[in-house]
């Protein structure tokens, strides 16, 4: 059996405010790029599951051919192999084109892929769509916000998932696409040996020949990319001789704001 982790390379969260509109439009982001924080949980779970099930783990990322740092991070954590999908295969497309490209890349890993793990959302795209699209294109089961994988047996998988109304234990048939929640594990730090191995790894790049996508017009257009208006707030520090005086001043202000 194979377990796939879907990994996106995204800007370091501390540098997200620095990304300019031009960079976002062209995709030529200048900030430090790292593995999408949510995808570390997917990578960790793929490593643990592969151990548990005697399966192999594969990380797949779509991006520019030189964007291999996130995949190397996954390899350094202990993922066994990695594949990069050149984002040019889905150029001019939308999220569903990206999902189709990743679905094809998953199929190319063979029929023994039974579990695909993804993060909850990317910190740049913020959509939480791609894993849904991948499940849709593959026609597989989909489970989102999974906090524990309890059992994989007899062609079925049992997991615990969480949503606003609580938690549920659910079972679906394999193969399955799963998005993982933060509670599922503690992603490990890459070991020194792992980093050395990852740095030597050759990461194959899949392009238009391997992943042919018939050009379809995008179903949605993104326009008017812009920075949100900077909210210039001048903080009003509530003064007072005692905490009680400060409390009274703050409550006055909040009642006047009509937010209570």
């Amino acid at each position: 059996m194979k377990v796939v982790a879907l990994i996106k390379q995204t800007p370091d969260t501390a540098e997200l405010p620095k990304v300019s509109v031009d960079e976002a439009r062209s995709g030529q982001i200048q900030t430090t790029m790292v593995i999408n924080p949510w995808d570390e949980f997917a990578a960790e779970e793929a490593i643990q599951l592969a151990d548990r099930l005697g399966a192999t783990s594969v990380a797949i990322s779509m991006g520019r051919p030189d964007q291999t740092d996130a995949l190397k991070h996954a390899l350094a954590m202990g993922i066994q192999s990695a594949v990069l999908v050149d984002e040019a295969v889905a150029a001019e497309g939308d999220e569903w084109t990206a999902a189709e490209a990743l679905a094809q890349a998953i199929r190319l890993q063979g029929d023994d892929v039974q579990i695909v793990l993804a993060g909850k959302m990317s910190v740049d795209g913020n959509s939480g769509l791609i894993h849904v699209g991948v499940a849709c294109k593959l026609g597989w089961s989909l489970l989102v916000n999974v906090t524990r994988i309890a059992e994989v047996a007899d062609g079925r998988i049992t997991v615990e998932r969480s949503f606003e109304g609580g938690q549920e234990v659910v079972q679906v048939p394999l193969p399955v696409v799963i998005s993982v929640a933060k509670e599922i594990n503690e992603p490990r730090y890459p070991s020194f040996m792992g980093i050395r191995k990852a740095n030597r790894a050759q990461i194959p790049v899949l392009g238009k020949d391997e992943i042919p996508i018939s050009p379809a017009p995008p179903r949605a257009r993104w326009e008017n990319l812009r920075k949100p208006e900077q909210r210039t707030v001048q903080v009003k520090i509530i003064q007072g001789a005692t905490p009680q005086e400060k409390a009274a001043g703050l409550v006055d202000a909040l009642l006047a704001e009509k937010v209570i």
Partner: protein, 328 residues
């Protein structure tokens, strides 16, 4: 033609943010000269259907079956397909909760439709819907124009005002239930509901949050924060530092790797205001910071600040609110 809104129910309670979305759908439908329709799926959901009429739906499609009692993607997607066809919808809206976001995405992908996920605003241009999305964790905005006949969007809770309910007018239309239980591949084996009365962070009008500032006595700190929240009918939030230190459960975390919230009032107690925390709460209408360090970065984003030890300030504030709000 119509704008169709999915009304989420959890344990037969409608999720309030759906009414916000329905209110907006009604406004758009009015401008487009079409109808606002709602879809209520579940078991014994007549009361929710009536509520949807009260919130302004012209037609409510009801799919009532044990198969739909709890959210499962496959039968829910089939139900939405039926409703979309029955309503001849050109715009399908959900709230961007775990279920709503997933349902909108799967329906859009299956119908080969354009989607705006986690949208924060909607308007019309030349009579067609345009959705605004926040990307790069709130650091950029984009407008999504749809090229497909059906447009789909999931809307973040608290993006639109809560409409006032009125008398229930309009019609209820029952839908055929598309699947029998044997045909549903997903089986729910066990349910652990959230605590009764727990206010969901993303739906909350007021949030009181605690950070590493409670470190001197974390249990006491979050007890005080909880008491303030109780007086205000608020939800309790937390920074990642507080969650990582084990002071409070992860489901309370606000920020980049926690929840994105947009309350009318956010009270940050002992939180420094790191970028990743601001990513989750920076859109709050009024932000209050209680911090003993006057240089804390949170004061650059807060509307009101109190430089004080939270262990004395939070109870003083609770006391003052009790007095003023007439709660003893």
């Amino acid at each position: 033609m119509s704008v169709l809104v999915w009304i989420e129910q959890i344990d037969n309670e409608p999720v309030p943010s759906c009414w916000e979305v329905l209110g907006k759908a009604r406004e758009l439908a009015h401008q487009m000269g079409t109808q606002a329709a709602a879809l209520v799926a579940g078991q014994d959901v007549d009361a929710i259907a009536q509520e949807a009429l009260g919130y302004g739906a012209d037609t409510v499609y009801v799919a009532d079956s044990p198969v739909l009692a709890r959210f499962r993607l496959q039968p829910y997607v089939e139900t939405v397909h039926q409703a979309l066809d029955a309503a001849q919808a050109t715009l399908f809206l959900t709230n961007a909760t775990v279920h709503g976001g997933t349902l909108a995405a799967m329906v859009a992908c299956r119908r080969n439709a354009g989607i705006a996920a986690q949208a924060v605003d909607l308007h019309l241009e030349d009579g067609r819907p345009v959705a605004t999305r926040a990307i790069y964790s709130g650091n950029m905005l984009a407008d999504i124009h749809f090229e497909s006949d059906l447009a789909v969007a999931s809307i973040r809770p608290r993006s639109f005002p809560m409409p006032e309910p009125g008398p229930a007018k309009g019609t209820v239309v029952p839908l055929e239930i598309p699947l029998a239980e044997e045909q549903v591949e997903e089986k729910i084996l066990e349910v652990k509901p959230a605590e009764k009365g727990e206010i969901s962070l993303t739906e909350a009008r007021i949030i009181v949050s605690g950070g590493r500032g409670v470190a001197a006595d974390p249990a006491k700190g979050f007890q005080l924060i909880g008491e303030l929240a109780d007086v205000l009918g608020a939800a309790v939030g937390a920074s990642r530092a507080a969650v990582d230190a084990g002071y409070i459960e992860y489901k309370h975390q606000v920020g980049q790797t926690g929840k994105t919230v947009k309350p009318d009032l956010y009270i940050a107690c002992g939180i420094s205001g790191a970028i990743q925390h601001l990513a989750g709460m920076g859109q709050s209408k009024v932000i209050v910071a209680i911090n003993k360090d006057p240089e804390a970065p949170i004061f650059e984003r807060a509307h009101y600040g109190v430089v004080e030890d939270l262990f004395v300030m939070v109870p003083a504030l609770t006391e003052e609110f009790r007095k003023r709000l007439g709660k003893g």
